[in-house]
Amino acid sequence: MKITDAAVYPYPLGDTSVRRLALEAEALGFDSIVAADTPSGVYGGVEVRSGLMIRDVPVKDVISAVKRAKDSGRVISVNAANNNFNRAVIGIKGVHILRGIQSADKTAFDHVAAKMAADNRVAVDIDLSSIIMGRSVVRQRAIHRYMDIMVLEQRFEFPITLSTHARSLLDMRNVRDIAGLCSLIGMDVPDVERALSGVGTVLTPREPAVKVIA
Protein backbone atom coordinates (compact mmCIF):
# COMPACT_ATOMS: atom_id res chain seq x y z
CA MET A 1 0.00 0.00 0.00
CA LYS A 2 1.51 3.28 -1.11
CA ILE A 3 0.38 6.47 0.57
CA THR A 4 -0.23 8.85 -2.30
CA ASP A 5 -1.18 12.47 -2.73
CA ALA A 6 -3.33 12.24 -5.85
CA ALA A 7 -2.63 15.71 -7.27
CA VAL A 8 0.16 18.23 -6.94
CA TYR A 9 1.18 20.93 -9.39
CA PRO A 10 4.93 21.51 -9.55
CA TYR A 11 6.75 24.41 -11.21
CA PRO A 12 5.81 26.08 -13.60
CA LEU A 13 2.17 25.46 -12.55
CA GLY A 14 3.17 26.14 -8.97
CA ASP A 15 6.12 27.67 -7.15
CA THR A 16 7.87 24.47 -6.10
CA SER A 17 9.97 22.14 -8.21
CA VAL A 18 8.92 18.51 -8.45
CA ARG A 19 12.08 17.40 -6.61
CA ARG A 20 11.33 19.73 -3.72
CA LEU A 21 7.71 18.54 -3.62
CA ALA A 22 8.99 14.97 -3.48
CA LEU A 23 11.37 15.84 -0.63
CA GLU A 24 8.55 17.50 1.25
CA ALA A 25 6.18 14.62 0.56
CA GLU A 26 8.71 12.21 2.03
CA ALA A 27 9.02 14.35 5.15
CA LEU A 28 5.23 14.46 5.45
CA GLY A 29 4.85 10.69 5.27
CA PHE A 30 3.94 10.05 1.64
CA ASP A 31 5.35 7.28 -0.54
CA SER A 32 4.27 8.74 -3.87
CA ILE A 33 2.69 11.78 -5.47
CA VAL A 34 0.83 12.35 -8.71
CA ALA A 35 2.31 15.43 -10.36
CA ALA A 36 0.58 17.17 -13.25
CA ASP A 37 2.47 17.42 -16.54
CA THR A 38 5.68 15.99 -15.11
CA PRO A 39 7.61 12.92 -16.23
CA SER A 40 7.57 9.97 -13.86
CA GLY A 41 10.54 9.27 -11.65
CA VAL A 42 11.78 8.62 -8.15
CA TYR A 43 13.17 11.52 -6.16
CA GLY A 44 14.47 11.01 -2.65
CA GLY A 45 12.60 7.76 -2.16
CA VAL A 46 9.26 9.17 -3.27
CA GLU A 47 7.73 7.91 -6.48
CA VAL A 48 6.45 10.69 -8.71
CA ARG A 49 3.71 9.52 -11.04
CA SER A 50 2.88 11.55 -14.08
CA GLY A 51 -0.66 12.87 -14.03
CA LEU A 52 -2.88 14.00 -16.87
CA MET A 53 -5.65 16.34 -15.73
CA ILE A 54 -8.39 16.78 -18.34
CA ARG A 55 -10.79 19.63 -17.77
CA ASP A 56 -13.44 21.72 -19.55
CA VAL A 57 -13.63 19.58 -22.69
CA PRO A 58 -16.50 17.60 -24.22
CA VAL A 59 -16.66 13.81 -23.89
CA LYS A 60 -15.38 13.35 -27.45
CA ASP A 61 -12.15 15.15 -26.60
CA VAL A 62 -11.82 13.21 -23.35
CA ILE A 63 -11.98 9.96 -25.31
CA SER A 64 -9.28 11.08 -27.76
CA ALA A 65 -7.06 12.40 -24.93
CA VAL A 66 -7.42 9.13 -23.03
CA LYS A 67 -6.59 7.17 -26.20
CA ARG A 68 -3.44 9.22 -26.70
CA ALA A 69 -2.34 8.76 -23.10
CA LYS A 70 -3.18 5.06 -22.95
CA ASP A 71 -0.25 2.75 -22.10
CA SER A 72 1.83 5.77 -21.06
CA GLY A 73 1.51 4.87 -17.39
CA ARG A 74 0.04 8.27 -16.57
CA VAL A 75 -2.70 8.74 -14.01
CA ILE A 76 -5.61 10.08 -16.03
CA SER A 77 -8.16 12.22 -14.25
CA VAL A 78 -11.10 14.17 -15.58
CA ASN A 79 -12.80 17.15 -14.02
CA ALA A 80 -16.43 16.46 -13.18
CA ALA A 81 -19.26 18.38 -14.83
CA ASN A 82 -22.96 17.50 -15.05
CA ASN A 83 -24.41 14.07 -14.41
CA ASN A 84 -24.49 12.92 -18.06
CA PHE A 85 -20.89 13.96 -18.59
CA ASN A 86 -19.75 12.19 -15.43
CA ARG A 87 -21.53 8.95 -16.34
CA ALA A 88 -20.01 9.07 -19.82
CA VAL A 89 -16.53 9.73 -18.44
CA ILE A 90 -16.77 6.96 -15.86
CA GLY A 91 -17.64 4.58 -18.71
CA ILE A 92 -14.48 5.42 -20.66
CA LYS A 93 -11.84 2.74 -20.26
CA GLY A 94 -8.58 4.31 -19.13
CA VAL A 95 -9.98 7.08 -16.93
CA HIS A 96 -8.69 6.61 -13.39
CA ILE A 97 -10.02 9.51 -11.33
CA LEU A 98 -13.02 11.82 -11.43
CA ARG A 99 -12.09 15.15 -9.86
CA GLY A 100 -13.75 18.36 -8.77
CA ILE A 101 -17.01 16.87 -7.51
CA GLN A 102 -17.26 19.64 -4.92
CA SER A 103 -17.61 22.32 -7.60
CA ALA A 104 -19.94 20.35 -9.89
CA ASP A 105 -23.75 20.31 -9.80
CA LYS A 106 -25.52 18.94 -6.76
CA THR A 107 -26.82 16.01 -8.81
CA ALA A 108 -23.55 15.47 -10.69
CA PHE A 109 -22.72 12.27 -8.85
CA ASP A 110 -25.68 10.12 -7.99
CA HIS A 111 -26.18 6.47 -7.07
CA VAL A 112 -26.05 5.36 -10.72
CA ALA A 113 -22.73 7.10 -11.27
CA ALA A 114 -21.51 5.60 -7.99
CA LYS A 115 -22.43 2.09 -9.14
CA MET A 116 -20.71 2.69 -12.48
CA ALA A 117 -17.59 4.01 -10.72
CA ALA A 118 -17.47 0.89 -8.56
CA ASP A 119 -17.91 -1.40 -11.58
CA ASN A 120 -15.34 0.42 -13.73
CA ARG A 121 -12.98 1.07 -10.83
CA VAL A 122 -12.89 4.82 -11.30
CA ALA A 123 -11.95 6.72 -8.17
CA VAL A 124 -13.62 9.87 -6.94
CA ASP A 125 -11.17 12.45 -5.72
CA ILE A 126 -11.54 14.32 -2.45
CA ASP A 127 -9.83 17.67 -2.95
CA LEU A 128 -8.68 18.79 0.49
CA SER A 129 -7.61 22.23 -0.73
CA SER A 130 -11.23 23.36 -0.64
CA ILE A 131 -11.34 22.44 3.05
CA ILE A 132 -7.89 23.84 3.85
CA MET A 133 -8.11 27.10 1.92
CA GLY A 134 -11.84 27.55 1.51
CA ARG A 135 -13.74 29.62 4.03
CA SER A 136 -17.43 29.87 4.95
CA VAL A 137 -19.81 28.79 2.16
CA VAL A 138 -17.16 27.25 -0.09
CA ARG A 139 -15.89 25.02 2.69
CA GLN A 140 -19.37 24.18 3.97
CA ARG A 141 -20.48 23.16 0.50
CA ALA A 142 -17.37 21.04 -0.03
CA ILE A 143 -17.80 19.27 3.32
CA HIS A 144 -21.46 18.60 2.58
CA ARG A 145 -20.68 17.23 -0.87
CA TYR A 146 -17.90 15.00 0.41
CA MET A 147 -20.15 13.66 3.17
CA ASP A 148 -22.65 12.74 0.47
CA ILE A 149 -19.88 11.05 -1.54
CA MET A 150 -18.88 9.06 1.54
CA VAL A 151 -22.47 7.83 2.00
CA LEU A 152 -22.40 6.52 -1.58
CA GLU A 153 -18.92 5.07 -1.06
CA GLN A 154 -20.09 3.09 1.96
CA ARG A 155 -22.90 1.64 -0.14
CA PHE A 156 -21.17 1.00 -3.49
CA GLU A 157 -17.50 0.78 -2.46
CA PHE A 158 -15.97 2.70 -5.33
CA PRO A 159 -12.36 3.85 -4.86
CA ILE A 160 -11.60 7.21 -3.26
CA THR A 161 -8.42 9.24 -3.65
CA LEU A 162 -7.18 12.12 -1.51
CA SER A 163 -5.33 15.08 -2.93
CA THR A 164 -4.09 18.39 -1.63
CA HIS A 165 -3.88 20.04 -5.10
CA ALA A 166 -0.74 21.68 -3.79
CA ARG A 167 0.83 24.35 -5.98
CA SER A 168 3.40 25.00 -3.31
CA LEU A 169 4.97 22.96 -0.55
CA LEU A 170 3.09 25.25 1.82
CA ASP A 171 -0.16 23.72 0.56
CA MET A 172 0.88 20.18 1.40
CA ARG A 173 -0.23 18.57 4.64
CA ASN A 174 1.12 15.60 6.52
CA VAL A 175 -0.74 12.33 6.79
CA ARG A 176 -1.90 13.06 10.34
CA ASP A 177 -3.33 16.43 9.30
CA ILE A 178 -5.06 14.77 6.36
CA ALA A 179 -6.63 12.20 8.68
CA GLY A 180 -7.84 15.06 10.89
CA LEU A 181 -9.29 16.98 7.96
CA CYS A 182 -10.97 13.83 6.64
CA SER A 183 -12.63 13.31 10.01
CA LEU A 184 -14.62 16.46 9.19
CA ILE A 185 -16.33 14.57 6.37
CA GLY A 186 -16.99 11.46 8.40
CA MET A 187 -13.97 9.39 7.37
CA ASP A 188 -12.40 7.24 10.03
CA VAL A 189 -8.78 6.04 10.02
CA PRO A 190 -9.36 2.86 7.91
CA ASP A 191 -11.27 4.97 5.36
CA VAL A 192 -8.38 7.44 5.19
CA GLU A 193 -5.84 4.65 4.78
CA ARG A 194 -7.90 3.14 1.97
CA ALA A 195 -8.29 6.52 0.30
CA LEU A 196 -4.58 7.32 0.55
CA SER A 197 -3.84 4.09 -1.30
CA GLY A 198 -6.64 4.78 -3.81
CA VAL A 199 -4.28 5.68 -6.67
CA GLY A 200 -2.56 2.32 -6.33
CA THR A 201 -5.97 0.62 -6.32
CA VAL A 202 -7.13 2.18 -9.59
CA LEU A 203 -3.80 1.55 -11.31
CA THR A 204 -3.59 -2.11 -10.33
CA PRO A 205 -5.24 -4.34 -12.94
CA ARG A 206 -8.25 -6.10 -11.57
CA GLU A 207 -8.04 -9.84 -11.09
CA PRO A 208 -10.56 -11.75 -13.20
CA ALA A 209 -13.66 -12.95 -11.39
CA VAL A 210 -13.19 -16.45 -12.82
CA LYS A 211 -9.76 -18.00 -12.76
CA VAL A 212 -8.96 -20.73 -15.31
CA ILE A 213 -6.82 -23.29 -13.52
CA ALA A 214 -6.27 -25.84 -16.26
Binding site: P12, S17, R19, I131, S168, L169, L170, N174, L181
Partner: protein
Protein backbone atom coordinates in the same frame (compact mmCIF):
# COMPACT_ATOMS: atom_id res chain seq x y z
CA UNK B 1 -6.55 39.04 44.34
CA UNK B 2 -4.93 35.76 45.21
CA UNK B 3 -4.23 33.36 42.38
CA UNK B 4 -6.45 30.35 41.98
CA UNK B 5 -5.04 27.15 43.51
CA UNK B 6 -3.63 24.70 40.95
CA UNK B 7 -6.39 22.15 41.47
CA UNK B 8 -9.03 24.71 40.48
CA UNK B 9 -7.20 25.96 37.42
CA UNK B 10 -8.09 24.94 33.88
CA UNK B 11 -6.07 22.01 32.55
CA UNK B 12 -4.17 23.11 29.49
CA UNK B 13 -2.14 21.52 26.74
CA UNK B 14 0.50 23.03 24.47
CA UNK B 15 1.07 22.30 20.81
CA UNK B 16 4.40 22.90 19.12
CA UNK B 17 4.38 23.78 15.41
CA UNK B 18 7.13 24.69 13.00
CA UNK B 19 6.59 27.74 10.80
CA UNK B 20 7.26 27.28 7.11
CA UNK B 21 8.85 28.69 5.04
CA UNK B 22 11.89 28.91 7.30
CA UNK B 23 13.05 32.40 8.12
CA UNK B 24 9.60 33.98 7.93
CA UNK B 25 9.38 36.89 10.36
CA UNK B 26 6.02 37.00 12.11
CA UNK B 27 4.55 38.83 15.04
CA UNK B 28 3.07 36.78 17.85
CA UNK B 29 -0.13 38.81 17.86
CA UNK B 30 -0.62 38.48 14.10
CA UNK B 31 -0.10 34.74 14.30
CA UNK B 32 -2.61 34.53 17.14
CA UNK B 33 -5.18 36.30 14.96
CA UNK B 34 -4.48 33.92 12.07
CA UNK B 35 -4.92 30.84 14.29
CA UNK B 36 -7.97 32.29 16.01
CA UNK B 37 -9.57 33.12 12.64
CA UNK B 38 -8.88 29.62 11.35
CA UNK B 39 -10.35 28.04 14.50
CA UNK B 40 -13.44 30.25 14.48
CA UNK B 41 -13.96 29.70 10.78
CA UNK B 42 -13.78 25.93 11.11
CA UNK B 43 -15.42 25.23 14.45
CA UNK B 44 -17.47 28.33 15.17
CA UNK B 45 -17.46 30.70 18.12
CA UNK B 46 -18.85 28.27 20.69
CA UNK B 47 -16.23 25.57 20.11
CA UNK B 48 -13.44 28.14 19.80
CA UNK B 49 -14.43 29.47 23.20
CA UNK B 50 -14.00 25.95 24.58
CA UNK B 51 -10.66 25.46 22.79
CA UNK B 52 -9.42 28.93 23.86
CA UNK B 53 -6.41 29.00 21.53
CA UNK B 54 -3.51 31.26 22.46
CA UNK B 55 -0.01 31.77 21.11
CA UNK B 56 2.28 31.61 24.12
CA UNK B 57 5.70 31.55 22.44
CA UNK B 58 7.14 32.36 19.05
CA UNK B 59 10.86 31.71 18.77
CA UNK B 60 13.43 29.97 16.54
CA UNK B 61 10.86 29.53 13.75
CA UNK B 62 8.52 27.59 16.05
CA UNK B 63 5.29 28.50 17.73
CA UNK B 64 3.77 27.13 20.93
CA UNK B 65 -0.03 27.23 20.96
CA UNK B 66 -2.05 26.74 24.11
CA UNK B 67 -5.46 25.10 24.26
CA UNK B 68 -7.72 23.49 26.81
CA UNK B 69 -6.93 19.86 27.59
CA UNK B 70 -8.98 17.49 25.45
CA UNK B 71 -9.29 19.91 22.53
CA UNK B 72 -5.86 19.26 20.99
CA UNK B 73 -7.34 17.37 18.06
CA UNK B 74 -9.72 20.20 17.15
CA UNK B 75 -6.96 22.76 17.46
CA UNK B 76 -4.59 20.65 15.35
CA UNK B 77 -7.18 20.37 12.57
CA UNK B 78 -7.81 24.11 12.71
CA UNK B 79 -4.07 24.85 12.68
CA UNK B 80 -3.71 22.77 9.52
CA UNK B 81 -6.08 25.21 7.79
CA UNK B 82 -3.88 28.23 8.52
CA UNK B 83 -2.51 29.35 5.16
CA UNK B 84 -1.52 32.97 5.69
CA UNK B 85 -0.63 35.45 8.37
CA UNK B 86 -1.18 39.08 7.42
CA UNK B 87 -0.86 38.38 3.66
CA UNK B 88 2.29 36.33 4.19
CA UNK B 89 1.85 32.75 3.03
CA UNK B 90 2.79 30.34 5.79
CA UNK B 91 2.16 26.81 6.87
CA UNK B 92 2.25 25.42 10.40
CA UNK B 93 3.58 21.88 10.71
CA UNK B 94 2.59 20.38 14.05
CA UNK B 95 5.47 18.59 15.74
CA UNK B 96 4.28 17.65 19.21
CA UNK B 97 1.80 18.25 22.01
CA UNK B 98 2.67 18.43 25.67
CA UNK B 99 1.41 19.44 29.08
CA UNK B 100 4.25 21.90 29.70
CA UNK B 101 5.85 24.60 27.59
CA UNK B 102 9.31 23.73 28.85
CA UNK B 103 9.28 20.21 27.43
CA UNK B 104 8.32 21.65 24.04
CA UNK B 105 11.01 24.32 24.27
CA UNK B 106 13.63 21.62 24.69
CA UNK B 107 12.62 20.28 21.29
CA UNK B 108 13.45 23.38 19.29
CA UNK B 109 15.98 25.30 21.36
CA UNK B 110 19.48 24.94 19.88
CA UNK B 111 21.67 22.94 22.23
CA UNK B 112 24.64 24.94 23.47
CA UNK B 113 27.91 23.12 23.06
CA UNK B 114 30.63 24.02 25.61
CA UNK B 115 33.25 24.66 22.87
CA UNK B 116 31.37 27.11 20.68
CA UNK B 117 30.31 29.97 22.87
CA UNK B 118 28.44 32.57 20.88
CA UNK B 119 28.40 36.27 21.39
CA UNK B 120 25.25 37.77 22.85
CA UNK B 121 22.71 38.40 20.13
CA UNK B 122 24.19 35.67 17.91
CA UNK B 123 22.42 32.35 17.60
CA UNK B 124 24.10 29.30 16.22
CA UNK B 125 23.27 25.76 15.34
CA UNK B 126 20.08 25.86 13.35
CA UNK B 127 20.79 28.89 11.20
CA UNK B 128 21.14 28.14 7.50
CA UNK B 129 24.42 28.65 5.71
CA UNK B 130 23.25 31.71 3.83
CA UNK B 131 22.37 33.42 7.06
CA UNK B 132 25.79 32.58 8.43
CA UNK B 133 27.44 34.14 5.43
CA UNK B 134 25.41 37.25 5.86
CA UNK B 135 26.29 37.68 9.53
CA UNK B 136 29.98 37.00 9.01
CA UNK B 137 30.34 39.74 6.44
CA UNK B 138 28.59 42.33 8.54
CA UNK B 139 25.25 43.90 7.73
CA UNK B 140 22.64 41.71 6.10
CA UNK B 141 21.80 43.39 2.86
CA UNK B 142 19.90 42.10 -0.10
CA UNK B 143 22.78 42.40 -2.55
CA UNK B 144 25.03 40.28 -0.34
CA UNK B 145 22.84 37.25 -0.86
CA UNK B 146 24.25 34.77 -3.37
CA UNK B 147 22.61 34.55 -6.76
CA UNK B 148 21.66 31.74 -9.08
CA UNK B 149 19.71 31.29 -12.29
CA UNK B 150 16.70 29.11 -12.80
CA UNK B 151 14.46 28.99 -15.87
CA UNK B 152 16.59 31.72 -17.48
CA UNK B 153 15.91 34.13 -14.61
CA UNK B 154 18.18 35.38 -11.88
CA UNK B 155 17.27 34.70 -8.27
CA UNK B 156 18.62 35.53 -4.84
CA UNK B 157 19.13 32.53 -2.61
CA UNK B 158 17.07 33.27 0.46
CA UNK B 159 17.49 30.02 2.38
CA UNK B 160 19.64 26.97 1.90
CA UNK B 161 19.24 24.00 4.16
CA UNK B 162 20.67 20.69 3.00
CA UNK B 163 19.19 19.90 -0.39
CA UNK B 164 16.51 22.55 -0.03
CA UNK B 165 17.04 25.96 -1.60
CA UNK B 166 14.52 28.81 -1.40
CA UNK B 167 15.02 31.57 -3.94
CA UNK B 168 13.45 34.95 -4.65
CA UNK B 169 13.48 36.49 -8.09
CA UNK B 170 15.77 39.46 -8.54
CA UNK B 171 13.88 42.64 -9.21
CA UNK B 172 10.99 44.63 -7.88
CA UNK B 173 7.95 43.09 -9.56
CA UNK B 174 8.10 39.34 -8.94
CA UNK B 175 9.25 38.78 -5.41
CA UNK B 176 7.55 35.43 -4.94
CA UNK B 177 9.56 32.71 -3.30
CA UNK B 178 10.37 29.57 -5.30
CA UNK B 179 11.12 26.31 -3.53
CA UNK B 180 13.82 24.34 -5.31
CA UNK B 181 16.56 21.85 -4.62
CA UNK B 182 20.28 22.08 -5.31
CA UNK B 183 19.78 19.43 -7.98
CA UNK B 184 17.30 21.70 -9.81
CA UNK B 185 19.88 24.46 -9.97
CA UNK B 186 22.67 22.10 -10.98
CA UNK B 187 20.59 20.62 -13.79
CA UNK B 188 19.69 23.92 -15.32
CA UNK B 189 22.79 26.01 -14.99
CA UNK B 190 25.64 24.54 -13.05
CA UNK B 191 28.06 27.38 -13.75
CA UNK B 192 26.03 30.10 -12.09
CA UNK B 193 25.56 28.49 -8.70
CA UNK B 194 27.41 30.29 -6.01
CA UNK B 195 30.09 28.31 -4.20
CA UNK B 196 28.76 29.56 -0.91
CA UNK B 197 25.66 27.40 -0.88
Amino acid sequence: MSPRPPTLREKRRYILARIEPAGTVLEQKELYYAISDATTSLWGDATTAIITPAVVALEHGHVVIRCRRGTERELAIAVSTVTACRDVRICLRIIAASGTIESLRSRFRPKKSPKSKTQPGHESGTEPEVEKFATETGAVEEHTLPECTFAKKTFFIEQCNGQKVDVIEKGFKNTNRLFLTKEDLEDLNATTISDRI
